[in-house]
């Protein structure tokens, strides 16, 4: 077993156990934490501040969001069959949870295949109306990769343990991962459904050599924003020659073809 201690300068870790105390703290005193398990074939238990927070956390899965008190937490990862945290940890780290922040703690392989624990800040702020954010993260034992959308590279030369954020029109994207400079997928293609106003975190995990590459994703909503305006007059750039002052009579007779998945009507009721 390797012991890898990473001094976390940035964000960090998670546990279900602290949920109890998190309920007491105010919103300003907690942070949201997601956990990603990207080390193949190694179910683990995760201890936070000496308490078992995640039991039998399966490789290739994610948990969260967990609300943790802000501040430093001691995180240790043990084999899932360990009775407690008295033995030697597979991985451990001191993790800082920022108040009101949103972070991911990822247990994963380095590019060279060594287990590692990496804290990552989650960018979940507003996206422009009609758009979605995608954050791609290289957490796999593999060299630099390109991320393809619809067969075209949208991220180039991404290396472990780095990430890149994109804002794209909401919708479904066919995504794949290929060795940098190539278009032959090593992961995917897989359809990603990107809803407007959300941020989807896509983690490439596993090992290229062991043929265990896969994607782990989670989505955070709440980044909606409104369009800037409603340009609802005269698409030709000029109004009608004579604008009817108030065509109410016409409307009450014809109704107003409205909405519609079929149609809609508008009618006076109790009009003075």
């Amino acid at each position: 077993m390797r012991r890898l201690v990473r001094a976390a300068g940035g964000a960090l870790i998670a546990s279900a156990i602290v949920l109890g105390t998190a309920g007491v703290a105010s919103a300003q005193e907690t942070g949201s934490v997601y956990v990603v398990h990207g080390i193949p074939d190694t179910p683990v238990d995760v201890y936070v501040d000496g308490e078992r927070a995640l039991d039998d956390f399966a490789p290739g899965t994610t948990k969260g969001p967990l609300s943790l008190p802000s501040g430093p937490h001691q995180v240790a990862v043990f084999p899932a069959d360990a009775a407690d945290d008295s033995g030697e940890a597979l991985l451990s780290a001191q993790a800082e949870v920022p108040a009101g922040g949103n972070v991911t703690l990822a247990a994963h392989l380095t590019a060279e295949g060594q287990p590692s624990l990496t804290p990552l800040v989650n960018e979940v702020g507003e996206v422009p109306a009609g758009q979605a954010r995608v954050v791609v993260r290289h957490l796999a034992a593999a060299p630099a990769v390109d991320v393809l959308a619809g067969g075209q590279a949208v991220v180039s030369g991404l290396t472990n343990p780095n990430q890149e954020a994109l804002e794209v029109p909401a919708g479904t994207v066919s995504a794949a991962v290929a060795a940098a400079g190539t278009t032959e997928p090593v992961i995917g293609p897989a359809d990603l459904s990107l809803e407007e106003g959300t941020t989807t975190f896509v983690h490439a995990i596993g090992s290229l050599e062991q043929d265990s590459l896969e994607l782990v994703t989670f989505t955070v909503s709440g980044g909606d924003s409104a369009p800037h305006g409603v340009p609802s007059g005269a698409p030709s750039g000029a109004p009608a020659a004579s604008v009817p002052a108030a065509g109410w009579a016409a409307m009450s007779v014809l109704g107003l073809a409205l909405v519609g998945f079929s149609l809609a009507r508008l009618r006076p009721a109790g009009r003075r």
Binding site: A129, V230, P231, A234, P235, S236, G237, M251, L258
Partner: protein
């Protein structure tokens, strides 16, 4: 009516055909339990004539608005008819995703600025479920 999204300039799309009404598909649909369902239609056009919402200004508080959907009609009662300068349109509230259910009907209003080829104002009709 057609489902519309966001144009390249960040504004809500409004159907090119002035007889059509656009429903903002990234927001709530009419009949949704929460949030503001936004429908926008042109007031008029020199080429195409009157728009679907040419007579929106004839609505007054208390009037009923029915939106027919395949699963049944949704009834609203007009609460407010307001005019905003386009640069002060309260878009965050108009397009809110949460809060009490509401129908917002939007068209253009006010004097037409021939220099920029657009109306100065937006007319907004806000209605609550009956």
């Amino acid at each position: 009516m057609v489902a519309v999204g966001v144009a390249g300039d960040g504004q809500m799309e409004v159907p090119e055909r002035v007889a059509d009404v656009g429903w903002y598909r990234f927001g709530p649909a009419p009949g949704a339990a929460t949030g503001s369902a936004v429908l926008a239609g042109h007031v008029d056009d020199r080429v195409q004539g009157d728009g679907a919402f040419a007579d929106l200004g004839g609505l007054a508080p208390g009037d009923e608005v029915l939106v027919d959907r395949p699963e049944g009609s949704v009834a609203y009662v007009v609460r407010e008819v307001r005019t905003f300068r386009k640069d002060t349109l309260p878009v965050a509230d108009l397009f809110r995703e949460g809060g009490p259910p509401r129908l917002a009907l939007v068209t253009c209003d006010g004097p037409f600025d021939t220099d920029v080829g657009r109306y100065r104002d937006n007319l907004v009709v806000l209605a609550e479920p009956r």
